[in-house]
Symmetry: C2
Subunit: 815 residues, 2 copies
């Protein structure tokens, strides 16, 4: 520990010895329960000396951070009772699962949620046994932990989750413990700046507690070793007033921390009152606590002659050989008894009244606060009918719209109808993604300096923009987990940044699906635009369509992937996604102008089916020679252009045109709830005709999804390849061989017996393709016949018909 | 612009008007060339008025950041000449590709590297035309850009790359421009702390230049709007002395910047001299420059009545309609002429002597500095024979080692033999990953406070640990790109954090493979351990084996994936990877004790083959009834356990045992350079026997890789599924159905005609499996027959034979 002077906390001790003792009792009880979870199978109250059989055969868990988490929890309980605060608790060092579980059990919530872990001796034994035990609970703060919205696995997201939870919850205090290891991560470092996006009028407050216990697994932490002044400079630079609490003598630290939390709360209320009552909207530093206490505090000081408490050796299990080694077991027993469990628990195992008294009542208990179980608070979005913004499509391909721009108009209504529980998140791309119509009814929220030249920037608003995909994702997760709704819009090229965050959230959804006490939350909706086929300003350095592959590796019941091919299908898809619950929905759609293929009703039916034959583009009369299938807006355009070429030059070739919006429909019904039955699949794709599939992403995914289908051996997929440098859009398509010319050649190659006219056409296609490529190199734009192509050239009786035929599958309910 | 007082820069003007004019000439020339790249197809020197045909049909690129990059480059050139500095330039706002290209052309390097872009009028026309044009160069700073080691696509990595480049280059100055948009990203925010890992004695220096131009695509930047004092507090908290340069009058800014760079250089040399000559190793604040100038400076002030210069509207192409709209074209012409090109270029197009004079000579030109073309400087690692650390394996499965611990011993030699060009990187996991033997010969480098209790922490060392996977990856990339060698060790659970960084690096490798002037660099080596099957302390929140899938989506010529099943195979694999060039090698290997299967020679041969039949585990005599294949250490263990059960109970069943180390061997030779020929594949896996494949990762990848193989329809893969919560190792395996019992059942299900004894065994397996599961739940550890199983129970004549048979494929050269 350094001996730098404390700052910020008033010198006087506001609490008396009795209150110190009461706080210390709760803290000891929580620490006792935490150690019990890590070590004990039995003998939970130490009625007898510990024997080998009382100890778990495999010791897992993280002790080091636990006493600090318990300490903060203890003192928040005091603050909640003293000031009637509505608060939730986020444990950034979420490896400290024992702490969150211990406090939930002490508050009685754990036994309410899990009656088999009762509030007595038997329950305590089960509480201990289940921890990080086969069939039990994880060693982290987890979905299973009452009161948590923050998975404690991968570090770095506690502040962005906390800020997401605080948005639009003006009376909520979100306490967020930041570990000093986690402090080193990028996502956490960026998320300190979330305080520039917290509106003191309409949002609640976040109270960061940076817990400087000094050590990671095997190293000191950076913030603990840069000198206190430098650290304080950094934290003030992040926009905080820093209240330092430092010590290793419990009573002293209790006094300091109680005072610090009161002062922090006073400052928060002062900022909020000033903003709410006096319109004082200029940003002031929000308080935070810098808590400096030993790692593994109150644990064994030394084991086998080596210091443990206050060192990295306290990180996980400080005494490892407790089952085998009687000397180690004696240290453990001494450690457990040092908390004086007989003062904390009745002989029945229930906490004594003097401990229980610290817990707030009912939903004021942080473990029972409904904000930490957002499904309880969630109300459905008020969603206008997407048809009110749909574009008229008298015939397919005769008009052009920018899909996301039209979607922006729809989102105007969504924002208007849901002024306090829906937000848009994006890394400075909302306007670039052409959703800027929303600025008709709302603004981008920003608490930094606002100047006259700024547009659509205000102290409050529904749009959150920061150039950190991690922070956007964390905000949205926190917002959803507390029962609200949102949409993350992002360039497809950059979404891999949050691969691992998606992982954790998807696992959260999967796990909570099995927890009846956690009602569903809103889906996490991604709109990926500026996609890989239209990378105008973004060279060719990093984009890839692999986020879809990443998502599809997760459990089928929580993921959905949509590739709407035009404006109305995007509207319909997004309306479905916004209404849905407990999924991750990935919607990939371009922002560039594309032809309109389907009218509003056709689009809605097509999206509800997820996959369908487009009659107006087909001439197969039920018996196709070839199926031309596609998924994604650019592949759909190319596939239709290929159809127009084929039908012009080979009019007797019977082509079926299939478009896929809902990628999961391709899977077997046994693999995914959206999966088509084999019969439906065969009806659409046939059991024997060659299928040429033009796909937005890596072609392998289509093979994987259709692997068990009857006609799979006849499937030829063209999709995204890792190629090229700088390209125009069609050039990009050609470099990936997903162009109309290649698709025509594929058809000719795969349909037997087409004859010499087809052979000639095949040759022409190759020539035209080379000419098209050369043209882009000479002129910097596409060949006129590519630029000017339109489907309506082919317009003929029967076009403009609905996409519905009896061969199409029945609609599914995407909710 | 704010009017906060400047800090840190001496008041006096150290340079005279002539020098200001000279600097300004270079800057104007670079700006002119940048605007030309964005707009012009022809008329490069404006010999006549601009006409529509002179303008590109599609205008792409980022003007906003470009003048700032040009300004910094200009002044670095002055510093290089004045002080004979060895410097390279990293452009964080790498969208400003025109700047890097312009300066490289002005320095003559561009024409040296690309003779068709000559140093004259024709070359200038080609320089302009090729920019972001089909068949040309990307709009970003890219691998194609001479002098760059930093891909300008996804933002956030410039500081970690810069620090990686500076390591072990004591005389190098790495200038790193940080954009104020990029400043908001998590990876960038974390990487400021890289200065706590820069050894002033043995490493060079990094000079960060935070360019506060105030705007992103559509928003102000956070650092530009938090108030100057708060920003300075933050930057000082990051450990820097801040030299502010601010203005909008060029001559004034030239004077300030020249002085600031001199002062920064003085401070850097002072810190280095103090450390090197006087042993003053206590960390002092390193200098950085805060450069505050308008976005799109010197561009159009206003277009169509709206302010452009100094606003977000200058971000990309400030005047969009220049081809179609004569008024816009006139603004463009006026803008270009404002640089007075006639003063900057000879009528022939070559820069005038007054411009050329600013460029340093030869390799002192930042565009020609060999540090930015690391393959030129790379020397092969001195690699000891791995056999010197191999474990003796008199018979398979009779001994046990921790593979990564033994690897640690090998790395001791690598570190010892390569004291200045090899480093280990990891997020605080090197010891946890059991590589801590390296601390016998080196330390973890740390420039923060070091205390007595710390172990293996020193002011210099070969191990870099920070709890930021992004920073570790960035460091390693920077280190490799400047010609050195390294290894990133990471828990498999957390490696998805760098998915998108891997993407950019893989694309860099792929692109530079086609650039003959860039010799190969060392491979980026990942050791992923604490893998998903052995997640002891890490609950079940986030881990997944999908990084392999992510990697395999990249171009085959740059990625390699290895799954060594035991200690000697890990040693052999890692020795190969460390010697290799220009790949990304992903090695997945456990740290927990595993049986030794192969002796050193057998391991080496097996790894060189990549896939092979293990004779000692097979009894097929060339005609197997079934092939049991595996990849990964845990699947190998389970597959061998399954073999032992089968051979005991069904001795007449002819089993072939195949192990796969090099996953890419499964692919077709046409898809991957390591791919087996179909004939070799069929020889190993047979053309018709059922194949049961136990795999470390998601099973789909194995199907994908073997999709075109003869026997693929007979392949049944068991791999990782998204399941479970808390588990012991074998429990985890069982939840994923990759356990020995399931593998035995699979074999019985798929080999026809095995009869009643097999049916009985199948039933027993189901029973045992249920019992094993229940046992873990009752006892918290595995069933004794699982814990105590060993292959040597089956030991019999013929065991311990080499894995080589004539059926195995020939070794490949992995270099």
């Amino acid at each position: 520990m350094t001996t730098a002077p404390r700052t910020g906390v008033p010198a006087g001790a506001p609490i008396d010895d009795a209150e110190v003792a009461a706080l210390d009792r709760w803290w000891r009880a929580a620490n006792y329960l935490a150690v019990g979870q890590i070590y004990l199978l039995d003998n939970p109250l130490l009625d007898r000396g510990l024997v080998a059989e009382d100890i778990k055969p495999r010791l897992l868990g993280h002790w080091g951070t636990t006493p600090g988490l318990n300490l903060v929890y203890t003192h928040l309980n005091r603050l909640i009772r003293e000031r009637d605060v509505d608060a939730i608790f986020l444990a950034g060092p979420g490896h400290g699962g024992p702490a969150a579980v211990a406090n939930a059990w002490l508050e009685g919530t754990y036994s309410e949620v899990y009656p088999h872990v009762s509030w007595d001796r038997d329950g305590m034994r089960e509480l201990f046994r289940q921890f990080s035990f086969p069939g039990g609970i994880p060693s982290h703060v987890a979905p299973e932990t009452p009161g948590s919205i923050h998975e404690g696995g991968e570090l770095g997201y506690v502040l962005s989750h906390a800020y997401g939870a605080a948005l639009d919850n003006p009376d909520l205090l979100v306490a967020a413990v930041v570990g000093d290891g986690e402090f080193e991560t990028g996502p956490l470092a960026a998320s300190w700046h979330a305080n520039k996006f917290l509106d003191p009028v309409h949002d609640g407050a976040v109270l960061p507690v940076l817990h400087l216990n000094g050590w990671k697994i095997a190293n000191p932490t950076v913030p603990a070793r840069i000198g206190r002044e430098e650290l304080l400079s950094l934290l003030r630079g992040y926009g905080h007033e820093v209240l330092t609490v430092e010590g290793r003598e419990p009573a002293d630290v209790h006094r300091q921390l109680a005072a610090a939390l009161e002062r922090a709360h006073d400052t928060i209320r002062d900022i909020q009152r000033a903003a709410r009552e006096r319109g004082a909207l200029d940003r002031r530093p929000w308080p935070m606590v810098l808590l400096v206490t030993p790692k593994g505090w109150t644990g064994p000081v030394e084991v086998d002659g080596r210091p443990v408490e206050g060192t990295w050796r306290a990180h996980q299990v400080p005494i490892a050989e407790t089952r085998q080694n009687p000397a180690h077991r004696a240290i453990l027993e001494q450690w457990l008894r040092s908390y004086r469990p007989e003062e904390l628990f009745e002989p029945t195992g229930t906490p004594v009244p003097g401990v229980r008294a610290l817990a707030p009542d009912g939903p004021r208990r942080m473990s029972a606060n409904p904000h930490a179980n957002g499904g309880l608070l969630r109300t459905p979005l008020r969603l206008p009918d997407f048809r009110s913004h749909a574009v008229a499509v008298p015939e397919p391909g005769a008009s052009i719209h920018e899909p996301t721009r039209v979607l922006g108009g729809y989102l105007v209504d969504v924002v208007r109808e849901n002024p306090a529980n829906f937000r848009l998140f994006g890394p400075d791309e909302t306007a670039s993604n052409r959703l800027d119509a929303v600025y008709e009814v709302t603004d981008k929220v920003f608490e930094g300096e606002i100047r006259d030249i700024d547009e659509h920037l205000a102290r409050s608003g529904r749009v959150m923009e920061i150039l950190s995909e991690h922070t956007c994702q964390g905000w949205l997760e926190g917002y959803l987990l507390t029962g609200r709704h949102g949409l993350f819009n992002c360039y497809e090229a950059f979404i891999h940044l949050v691969d691992s965050m998606f992982n954790q959230h998807a696992k959260w959804l999967k796990t909570t699906r099995g927890l009846s006490w956690r009602p569903p939350i809103s889906s996490l909706n991604y709109l990926l635009t500026s996609h890989v086929w239209r990378q105008d300003h973004n060279g060719f350095s990093h984009q890839d369509p692999g986020f879809i592959d990443h998502v599809v590796n997760k459990r089928a019941e929580v993921v959905r992937v949509y590739l709407p091919p035009d404006t109305n299908t995007l509207l319909s898809t997004m309306a479905h996604c916004l209404a849905s619950q407990h999924y991750v929905n990935v919607v990939v759609a371009g922002k560039q102008p594309v032809f309109d293929w389907l009218g509003p009703e056709e689009a809605d039916l097509h999206c509800a089916r997820g996959v369908g034959i487009w009659d107006w583009a087909s001439n197969d009369d039920g018996e196709p020679d070839v199926v031309l299938a596609c998924a994604g807006d650019v592949p759909t355009l190319e596939a239709l252009a290929a159809v127009s070429i084929l039908r012009k030059h080979l009019p007797s070739l019977r082509i079926r045109f299939v478009n896929v919006v809902d990628l999961m429909r391709l899977q077997d019904a046994t693999e995914h709830p959206h999966g088509l039955s084999d019969r439906d699949f065969d009806t659409v794709f046939t059991a024997e005709a060659p299928v040429i599939f033009a796909y937005h992403g890596y072609p392998w995914l289509i093979h994987r999804l259709t692997y068990r289908r009857t006609n799979h051996h006849n499937l030829h997929v063209r999709g995204y390849k890792e190629e090229g440098t700088t390209t125009t859009p069609f050039d990009m398509v050609m470099m990936n061989d997903v162009d109309r010319y290649h698709l025509v050649m594929d058809v000719i190659d795969r349909v037997p017996g087409l004859g010499s006219r087809a052979a000639l056409l095949r040759q022409q296609m190759g020539d035209t393709r080379r000419r098209a490529r050369q043209w882009t190199r000479d002129h910097g734009e596409d060949l006129p016949e590519v630029r000017e192509w339109s489907w309506s050239e082919l317009a003929a009786p029967g076009h403009g018909r609905s996409p519905s035929t009896t061969a199409n599958p029945a609609p599914i309910d995407v909710l």
